[in-house]
């Protein structure tokens, strides 16, 4: 019996030593108490090597849990990640209100279009209402091009566009085989949907981060990691390549209702753009999309629309004017003007009160442009910081019909051969 007790004691001692050794190998807790939450979190114990997401969301203020959710105290991966919102993507529209919303964040004031979540989720990029209405109209399933259906059922009683609600588009309720096929194969092109194509240039997140978080192939300024596809980054300096993850993925065939992913590998910027038959002027392939297209065009203005043409309105004349008129400009004097806020978020240009910037016919400032003392203009690339000087049409040798301001009219002279 004594020998048995000695053996059992040795066994217990061995077990205790083993436990002490295991305990010494545990993750060393790294505490962080973000100023916005005031609640300690330990995510950095494992994720300390992750680059900070951006200057607008410093980790010391935001921490991780405010946006990502998760168990802030857990040092065991399964539990810690268990209650995370949207998996790796807290900005997915299913959880965006909890992750990015709130009165002090991105769903607060309607003033100055700052209720971003409301705008983005009702935008044509999220509802896909335009494509759905067009296809249903084309195949005789609805009498006109007015949108009635969207990717999700949505109501907006304050919509001033004439559309105050969309029912959910359920392909299985469609009788026309083409519309059914569209529903089954083409509903991966909106902000609610996971990308249909994956890998490299097609990778993007859903929701806000579809645009605001670059992928490895679209993050042209800094490639942080070789292993992860997505970069831990939030930015308003969105390069054309990010837009390309959706808008340049290939071509579709309306007769067969099929999508053909792009097969070629473009070697220069000009050929890395849209469909092969499209025409471009120089600015269309040297600038980034967001250098001209405004935030309400991209993210909506809070109203529900039937077609992207109803919200997309920037034309050549917005910057260049016409033969008979200069482009509209605005002298920004109010220090609280939205242009200052925008230039602060993406500081490629240092705006000063009294600066003259171009302004769209809807009154949106093109805050990355400036009227020069000599009457010319300059535009600073939002993603590149590159400066592009340009002149107005008025006073030039342009022979365009002032009443025809379509891009096709400008392309007659200003297209680049491809």
């Amino acid at each position: 019996m004594r020998r048995l007790i000695v053996i059992a004691s040795a066994l217990l001692l061995l077990t205790l030593l083993g436990i002490a050794w295991l305990e010494s190998r545990h993750v060393i807790p790294v505490a962080l108490t973000p100023s916005l939450t005031g609640q300690v979190e330990y995510c950095l114990s494992c994720h300390g090597d992750l680059p900070e997401i951006g200057k607008s969301h410093p980790v010391k203020s935001f921490g991780c849990v405010l946006c990502h959710g998760g168990e802030r105290l857990a040092l065991e991966a399964n539990l810690a990640h268990n209650s995370m919102r949207g998996g790796k993507n807290p900005a997915d529209f299913s959880v965006v209100q909890a992750s990015c919303g709130g009165t002090i964040c991105h769903s607060g004031s309607t003033e100055g279009y700052r209720d971003h979540i409301q705008r983005a989720t009702t935008s044509i990029q999220a509802t896909y209402a335009g494509a759905i209405a067009s296809i249903r109209y084309t195949f005789g399933e609805q009498p006109d091009l007015t949108a009635h259906l969207g990717t999700t059922a949505i109501q907006d009683s304050q919509s001033t566009s004439g559309i105050t609600s969309l029912e959910v588009f359920n392909p299985l309720l469609e009788t026309n085989p083409a519309v059914l096929a569209f529903g089954q194969t083409c509903l991966t092109c909106h902000l609610f949907a996971q990308p249909g194509q994956t890998g490299g240039r097609y990778d993007h997140f859903t929701g806000c981060t579809a645009c605001h978080t670059p992928t490895q192939s679209s993050d042209l300024t800094s490639i942080d990691t070789k292993t992860a596809t997505q970069v831990h980054k939030l930015t308003t300096a969105i390069s054309y390549a990010q837009c390309d993850t959706c808008h340049n993925r290939g071509n579709y065939d309306l007769r067969a209702i099929t999508f053909q992913p792009r097969q070629d590998t473009p070697t220069d910027r000009l050929h890395d753009y849209y469909q092969p038959i499209a025409q471009f002027t120089k600015c269309e392939y040297t600038l980034d999309c967001i250098d001209c297209h405004t935030r309400t065009e991209a993210m909506g203005d809070g109203n529900l629309y039937s077609n992207k043409k109803q919200i997309q309105y920037i034309q050549c004349k917005t910057c260049h004017g016409t033969l008979t008129g200069l482009p509209q400009t605005l002298t920004i004097t109010d220090p609280n003007h939205i242009a200052f806020r925008q230039s602060l978020l993406n500081p490629v240009i240092e705006l000063k009160p009294g600066d003259n910037v171009l302004v769209t016919e809807k009154g949106e400032p093109l805050w990355n442009t400036r009227l020069q003392p000599d009457g010319t203009y300059e535009l600073v690339g939002k993603a590149t910081g590159q400066v592009f000087p340009f002149k107005p049409v008025m006073g030039s040798g342009c022979t365009q019909d002032p009443d025809d301001q379509s891009s096709g009219s400008c392309h007659k002279c200003h297209s680049v051969e491809r």
Partner: protein
């Protein structure tokens, strides 16, 4: 050698035949040891546990992940509690299958049954104290069962839950029950139970003239055997604690969506299966209580084992009790296994 305090807790000698591991299955001693482990680890947990809905699960996470050896303490408490339910069941089984409940030990059998119920209730209340998503069945379905009791249901529910739905009052009540209402009662009952073991003449054994052998072992040998079992049990508890940590889930919130599979704690899986049969009051309250009453009344309503056979495995004279016990045991095991199968809703 002058006997130590621990030796003095034991009788000077006990019958050798009934002191063998194969007779006791070490279950009574193990239950006491597990109770000690639970007491010590439980007291340590009190210093970190915060019994409010907002903080409970977080304080357990703090204890588990951030307090040095806190996770180990919690895992030991968890595994000792689960083991106690099993070890107590084995102890009960040994008592029934050796006819050890024959008077004068009949009253101590009642005390033992009381302790067994306390062990289950302690396990259940301790489980609720986690206050995380894992306890949803126990908290919602378990407490709703009380409502199904005619006439008394609402009052009982109100006094246990402290409101119309689980909340802060529920948690503090379960905390109070766990530590004072149940653990303190268990300590007193254990003392009484052990006192009665000595008072009733030690381990059940036939009267001296009817014994096959008069051989006895000293308390020194008995304590050695106990020490051996405690050492081995400690190793087992530690290994379980390290390699199978106690479950944890995100904090319980009334609004969070129902998880895909909601399960009862393992010791109530059989009740969960019974509930699928129909009336919650019948299958969730009456039947479990009837089973408990049946086991409790074994020494009173079934034929008594004869003196010469007690202290031996499977006496012929209490076959009926054995058969009844086996039927109940197998039924509960089958229902538990059914409850473990993947949930199909």
């Amino acid at each position: 050698m002058r006997p130590s305090f621990f030796h003095h807790l034991h009788p000077p000698s006990i019958p050798a035949r009934q002191a063998r591991f194969r007779h006791t299955l070490a279950s009574g001693g193990l239950a006491v040891f597990l109770g000690l482990v639970l007491g010590i680890t439980g007291i340590l947990e009190i210093f970190y546990y915060i019994p409010t809905p907002g903080e409970a699960a977080l304080s357990i996470q703090t204890l588990t992940f951030l307090v040095p050896f806190g996770g180990l303490i919690r895992n030991l408490h968890f595994w000792a509690a689960q083991s106690l339910v099993i070890v107590s069941s084995v102890h009960l089984l040994r008592v029934v299958f050796t006819g050890a409940y024959l008077p004068p030990r009949r009253f101590n059998y009642l005390l033992g049954m009381g302790l067994f119920v306390l062990a289950i209730l302690l396990d259940f209340t301790g489980y609720i104290l986690r206050w995380d998503e894992g306890i949803r069945w126990a908290l919602v379905t378990g407490t709703n069962l009380i409502k199904s009791i005619p006439l008394l249901g609402k009052t009982l529910y109100g006094s246990l839950v402290g409101g119309t739905e689980p909340g802060a009052a529920t948690l503090i009540r379960f905390y109070g029950w766990h530590i004072f209402g149940l653990a303190l009662a268990a300590v007193l009952l254990v003392a009484w139970h052990i006192f009665r073991v000595r008072r009733d003449g030690g381990i059940a054994v036939p009267p001296p003239p009817l014994r096959e052998t008069q051989e006895r072992i000293s308390r020194v040998e008995l304590v050695r055997r106990e020490v051996l079992v405690m050492l081995l049990a400690s190793v087992a508890l530690l290994l379980l604690s390290v390699f199978a940590p106690a479950p944890l889930a995100p904090p319980f919130t009334a609004t969070s969506p129902l998880p895909e599979s909601v399960r009862a704690p393992w010791f109530f899986l059989w009740v969960q299966e019974l509930l699928k049969l129909g009336s919650p009051f019948l299958w969730g309250v009456i039947v479990p209580l009837a089973i408990l009453a049946l086991i409790t009344l074994i020494p009173y309503i079934l034929p008594k084992p004869i003196q010469s056979e007690i202290g031996h495995w499977f006496p012929k004279s209490n076959r009926l009790a054995q058969v009844l016990f086996i039927i109940i045991l197998v039924s509960l095991l089958v229902l538990t296994v059914l409850g473990l199968l993947p949930v199909s809703y």
